[in-house]
Symmetry: C2
Subunit: 463 residues, 2 copies
């Protein structure tokens, strides 16, 4: 063993040297590009201006809605106005669910207490209640296991899922992942236990009186029951009152409806590659949003950053070798129809998708990106770190990329997910709080700059 | 040369191995401490609760004011309530300047235009105008050089300094540094050019109608003239109007006053070290704030993080070898009297200050810290990086530490400045925008957690 050390060390040194040399070469070649993209982006504030336009002119963009249709036309016009090539729509059918005008939850008077209204909203995809609402007792649980252990005791009741996001987790996405099963699967679990409705604690880090919506699912073999989210303040209040009066009765009324699927579209525009036009780098976000708030962070930010990334590359006069394409994906929130449609559209037959980048974690300060690809791609991208360090976004790690691009990634396309500062995201997510005043212009802009640099490096260096 | 490679490589390998081994040892020894501090801090939300108390009960804490006096008593009570040892005040004399009730700037009607009011506020330390205000023409400049080149043309005029913070800079602190000379030195430069007052574009990244105050200085040999900040919207408007009518007249009225110095204090409390009580690690911020807003970010956040850092260490049951001390420094904004007084207080004679940590860049998500110390200290701290990576704060670089601790650092004490996400800070800084609703609880909490970990590591491992 002793004898092998110098040899091993020699190889190590050679590797270190080669790696340093390669990084220096990259820095020399692209340092000015990086700095120019940053200065131009920060000066222009272009992403924020686009986001103002989107959120003012198409504030609610739930798939199938008139707002989503306006968003499609508006982003097509944006790309045309900015001189993108090959701007067009690629159609897909999407679900069409509407919230309806009435969403009410009232704790009925009794046990010496007066009537109390809780802030609720239907979960996306829920059926309505009967016209007079559902009136029933409430059973509180923190998990599906706890519900199962109740046996018959949930029968005929509204099942109240009250497990909060764990505040002790450093990653709010991890904390979200630890609570969102209640929203997605609460209605089915409630129905299986004989419950008449599901009421779910809003999946948010905020303690306030704003309910947060989001997708929920039914199963073909389980009778559907209505499902609503309650604000965290409402959930805490209901929980307290249940401790005092476990027999309290709640009246829940929802008037949401599902309509037949409608025709919608992804919106696509690009800089066509100067040398390899058929090799395509995607940069995108999802154009649809929930019907609460205006979808400023989720995911107006990601969409406008994608358009601005390409606009920046154009405006600083770069002519990429490969095609860089912005895609506004439709229907991420409740169907992923756009993400699937993109992959199988006829236009794809003559193209090779070489990378897909998505920003869908809010328009906060970027820290870097997660890479969902094989080791060779990961190691190549890691060698570009010194460039991303110049714009304070050098956290390059393995990880998930994005929901819209997941069909591509599953087909072997390297995926990249913009990683941003995440503490605030779930304060706003899927709620009336997701408005543009929660977006900082500089933080938003930096995301577009990071994406522009990554697109351009992949275009010039390949993967 | 060829022969030396294996030897050099062997040394490299040994160094790498030693370094890796040392990091692993640190991770093993303190990994659980780190995770426990994080989980406890994020669950408790203690810093935010303290900051609510401070900003509600002592919202304006300009040195010499009754608010600052309330802040002194309140933070002393907080430390006592949390069971800190050796809680006491250390007195210092501080300046006493008051804004006064009237702050007005009016563009007088003329040239077909009606009268327009601009949002202004006196700069800290400014003299008042005459009782009827100053009415004069305005000359706009972007630099002191440009003002000097004007020669006699600034005589009798209000000098309007309108150089913005450069939005193209990645670091807002760097952009601030590139504009703040106008605020600090504008009055003297205006007076030297024969001007009658200085009106300075607010040193902020925000484009809004809120003026941002801050310190300004006079020189003994230059006649003092009044100095005010104007909002960025006001500055842009005035600049536009000057292009149309260079002879427009502005009336400026300020009623601020300087009073004799008053007695104030730093507030100090600690966990006394179990093995080396006379070796002291400082963690602090400045308790004084401007009289605009409530000083939530600047620097209520840093002060409450210092108290919470010690409270966290206590609440998880650690017994540090060395003394860890929270210091609420008085008068950072317009005098640094507290920072200087701490160093020369009689209590210091029997102590050794071994490190000083400051948080004074807002209560935003921490990224790591800057180290202002010699190479040996820096390299030692860098070996702790894996621990800070666990809490997403592993950006450890050489750099400035903090203004309050600068007298100590100049005396050779290693200084550490908490580095946080900085894009939003100067939107709020020194203005009515600096309120607690701009502080995110989790981001604030993480700062206290990073400080607690750094304090404890220094306490156990030394520097």
């Amino acid at each position: 063993m002793h004898n092998r050390k110098p040899l091993l060390a020699g190889v190590t040194l050679l590797f270190v040297w080669a790696s340093v040399a390669s990084c220096q070469k990259i820095s020399n070649r692209y340092g000015i590009v990086c700095d120019t993209l940053m200065k131009t982006g920060l000066r222009s504030g272009g992403t924020y201006t686009l986001l103002q336009e989107l959120t003012e002119q198409a504030p609610h963009r739930l798939a199938g809605s008139s707002g989503a249709a306006r968003g499609v036309e508006l982003t097509k016009q944006m790309m045309q106005r900015l001189g993108f090539a090959n701007v067009h729509k690629e159609s897909c059918m999407v679900p069409h669910w509407e919230r309806g005008p009435i969403e009410k939850a009232e704790i009925l008077p009794g046990g010496g207490m007066r009537s109390i209204h809780l802030s609720v909203c239907a979960l996306g995809g829920s059926i309505a209640t009967a016209a007079n609402g559902i009136t029933a007792e409430v059973v509180e649980v923190r998990s599906f296991d706890e519900l199962r252990e109740l046996g018959d005791r949930a029968r005929g009741k509204i099942v109240f899922f009250n497990r909060p996001m764990d505040p002790a987790k450093l990653s709010t996405f991890e904390a979200y992942g630890g609570a969102v099963d209640q929203r997605g699967g609460g209605a089915v679990a409630a129905a299986k236990a004989g419950g008449v409705a599901a009421l779910v604690r809003s999946v948010t880090t905020a303690i306030d009186d704003v309910p947060h919506t989001g997708a929920m699912e039914y199963e073909d073999t389980v009778v559907p029951v209505p499902a609503a989210a309650v604000s965290t303040i409402g959930a805490d209040r209901l929980s307290d009152m249940l401790k005092k009066n476990p027999r309290l009765r709640l009246r829940l009324k929802l008037t949401c409806q599902t309509f037949p699927d409608v025709l919608s579209a992804n919106v696509v525009g690009e800089i066509t590659g100067s040398e390899r036009p058929n090799e395509v780098i995607i940069v995108g976000g999802h154009l649809d949003s929930w019907d609460k708030g205006v979808g400023a962070h989720d995911d107006g930010s990601g969409c406008m950053q994608a358009i601005e990334a390409i606009s920046l590359i154009k405006s600083v006069g770069l002519t990429p070798k490969r095609t860089i394409r912005a895609v506004m994906f439709m229907n991420e929130e409740n169907g992923l129809r756009g993400g699937r449609a993109y992959l199988i559209a006829p236009e794809r037959a003559s193209e090779k998708q070489i990378a897909a980048i998505e920003s869908d974690r809010g328009g906060f300060a970027p820290k870097g990106f997660d890479v969902q690809a094989d080791s060779a791609v990961f190691e190549k991208v890691v060698r570009w770190r010194s460039l991303f360090e110049r714009i304070d976004a050098d956290r390059i790690r393995r990880g998930g990329s994005g929901v819209d691009i997941s069909p591509m990634v599953q087909n072997g396309v390297p995926g990249f997910g913009l990683v941003v500062e995440n503490h605030r995201y779930f304060d706003y997510h899927h709620s009336d709080n997701d408005t543009i005043d929660k977006v900082n212009q500089r933080e938003l802009e930096m995301g577009a700059i990071v994406e522009a640099l990554l697109c351009y490096l992949i275009s010039e260096e390949g993967l």
